[in-house]
């Protein structure tokens, strides 16, 4: 091939593609006029084939590198179909959530089991050695409730600040539980177990003071949502870990990437849960008892717990799972 002829003939089109590309990179494919869009596609295909030719026949690096960069840039803007386009996608995800939840029920049960084992361990340990329990509880930066604590009515500003702090703390725990799945699940196991211990030890402190009712009204209104949220984080971590461990027809890396996306939407459900839970904790669970009756607090807990359970268990049984075909 004659390099000079090749370059001089094709160069104007490359420059034209470059101009269009700069425009697209700045303001998006959608802003192109119809004629320009057609031309962009045509120029891209032509340039890709020029690259192919250049790789085979042309000596010297400069031409190939130039065309390679041009094609790479085009490729990035052309194959951008996977953009999340707002509300419809989000709405679909919410509707599919119960199905996703039930599909990963096994991992959630594992997380629940770990949390319970941790709680029992924490409870027994601190029941017999209360100094250790308090030491363990005080060492965390979570604002813990105390038996016999006098609660004062807080202003709305303080309530907002307090629930924001709770939300941030709890989302971080949940996301970290998910992320640590990458340590073959070991980090997740520890984090879920540790949260169980915290709960158990706190229960033991209240049990010692004989204040069970206070414990339940102080924990349940938000706990019905907060505990599932940490379980979701833990389950997400276990899904990641399984993806790393499972030998499949495709490679571990591909499986890991697939599992990551799968787990993500499960864990994502924890965020709205935690937002509601933080508000409930600040407003309901920690309200002074003469202001909000303890029966009312438990009723709120029951109400939110039931709504959440109903959302998870009732809808979506009739949606066809992807990959399943009904035969008449």
């Amino acid at each position: 091939m004659n390099l000079a002829t090749f370059i001089n003939e094709r160069r104007p089109q490359w420059r034209q593609l470059e101009d269009l590309l700069t425009h697209v990179e700045g303001s998006g494919l959608a802003t192109l006029e119809e004629a320009d869009a057609m031309q962009f596609a045509q120029l891209y295909r032509r340039t890709a084939s020029d690259l192919n030719q250049a790789q085979t026949y042309v000596t010297g690096d400069a031409t190939v590198r130039y065309l390679n960069d041009l094609v790479a840039r085009c490729y990035l803007v052309i194959h951008a179909t996977n953009r999340m386009d707002g509300w419809p996608v989000l709405w679909q995800r919410i509707r599919d959530y119960p199905v996703v939840f039930r599909r990963h029920f096994r991992q959630i049960l594992v997380a629940l089991g770990l949390l319970l084992v941790g709680a029992v361990f924490g409870f027994t340990a601190s029941y017999y050695d209360s100094a250790a329990a308090r030491g363990f509880l005080l060492s965390t930066d979570m604002p813990m409730i105390q038996p016999g604590q006098k609660r004062s009515l807080q202003s709305t500003g303080e309530l907002a600040g307090f629930s924001a702090a709770l939300f941030r703390q709890n989302v971080s725990v949940t996301l970290v539980a998910f992320a640590l799945g990458i340590t073959f699940g070991l980090g997740t196991v520890w984090l879920v177990f540790e949260n169980g211990i915290l709960m158990g030890a706190l229960a033991a402190v209240f049990a010692e003071a004989g204040a069970w009712q206070e414990f339940l009204t102080g924990i349940l209104p938000h706990g019905v949502l907060e505990i599932p949220a940490i379980l979701l984080g833990g389950a997400g971590g276990f899904i990641l870990a399984e993806g790393m461990l499972r030998a499949r027809p495709w490679s571990r890396l591909e499986e890991l990437a697939r599992c990551g996306q799968d787990a993500l939407w499960l864990v994502g459900g924890a965020i709205p849960l935690l937002a509601v839970a933080a508000l409930l904790e600040a407003v309901v669970a920690r309200a002074p008892d003469d202001y909000l009756d303890s029966g009312l607090k438990l009723a709120v807990a029951a109400l939110f717990g039931l709504i959440f359970l109903a959302f998870l268990l009732l809808p979506g049984w009739r949606t066809r799972r992807p990959g399943f075909v009904d035969h008449p």
Binding site: A4, E18, Q55
Partner: protein, 246 residues
């Protein structure tokens, strides 16, 4: 390290995988920005706190939360795989198969940042990235992403001269004979010099062309004609080189 992608038209093209050095520098820039953003939040929050107790603290909490978890995520999602630091260093996150990274992937790779940053200063992430050929940290592995250079490293190629008049053609046969003595690398260097001449600074351009001319004068006994600039002379040689295949 080069990462090859094959387009749907079956044309292979390559990305250069970003090294740990550029990624570290980009991260450093981003961390500085995060610190600045956090400080701004603290300032606004403490002003509000004066007005209404508790509210300012709440806003600070939320702001820190948003900056901490969403800075990388939002930029990588909205800026096509780049954060301000990455843009400055000319690197970009892409999907492993060569296309733009999706929202979910941006989320995953940035949640997994927590695991990578253990035990401190990205110890795990650094170890993992140093142990695989494409410098992917745990977050990249879990999200199926890759960080590459997408700076516009090669500007447009210039036009090449084609063979000119009769007299030039007569000279061309002599030139071609002499040029047979060049190594392949040398020929490529001459062609590259001509193709990329427009990307050079004026001074560099003059220096490189006169250096090349001096080489031909001394070693191959080829000199520019009177009134012919070094650059024109080298371009003549390139024209002969580029057309001697047909």
């Amino acid at each position: 390290m080069i990462h090859e992608v094959i387009t749907s038209e079956k044309v292979p093209f390559t990305y250069r995988v970003a090294g740990l050095g550029s990624r570290f520098l980009a991260w450093l820039v981003d961390v500085c920005l995060i610190v600045i953003l956090t400080e701004m939040g603290l300032f606004v929050g403490s002003v509000l706190e004066l007005g209404r107790a508790g509210l300012g603290a709440g806003i600070i909490m939320l702001w820190i939360f948003v900056v901490q978890w969403c800075y990388f995520l939002l930029f990588e999602w909205l800026w096509n795989g780049q954060t301000p630091g990455k843009r400055m260093l000319g690197i970009r996150v892409i999907q492993w198969k060569g296309t733009r990274l999706s929202f979910e992937q941006a989320v995953i790779r940035n949640i997994l940042r927590v695991a990578d940053s253990l035990p401190l200063l990205y110890g795990v992430g650094f170890l993992v990235a140093a142990c695989n050929r494409e410098s992917r940290r745990l977050g990249d592995l879990a999200a199926g992403t890759l960080v590459v250079y997408v700076e516009h490293r090669s500007g447009p190629v210039g036009a090449l001269r084609e063979r000119g008049s009769e007299s030039a053609r007569a000279r061309a046969s002599l030139v071609r004979q002499r040029l047979e003595h060049l190594h392949r690398k040398q020929k490529e260097a001459i062609l590259d010099l001509c193709l990329r001449r427009n990307q050079l600074r004026v001074r560099e351009r003059a220096r490189l062309f006169s250096a090349a001319t001096a080489y031909f004068k001394n070693n191959l006994d080829l000199a520019p004609e009177e009134y012919e600039s070094d650059e024109k002379f080298i371009e003549q040689l390139a024209a002969v080189l580029s057309s001697d295949r047909n």
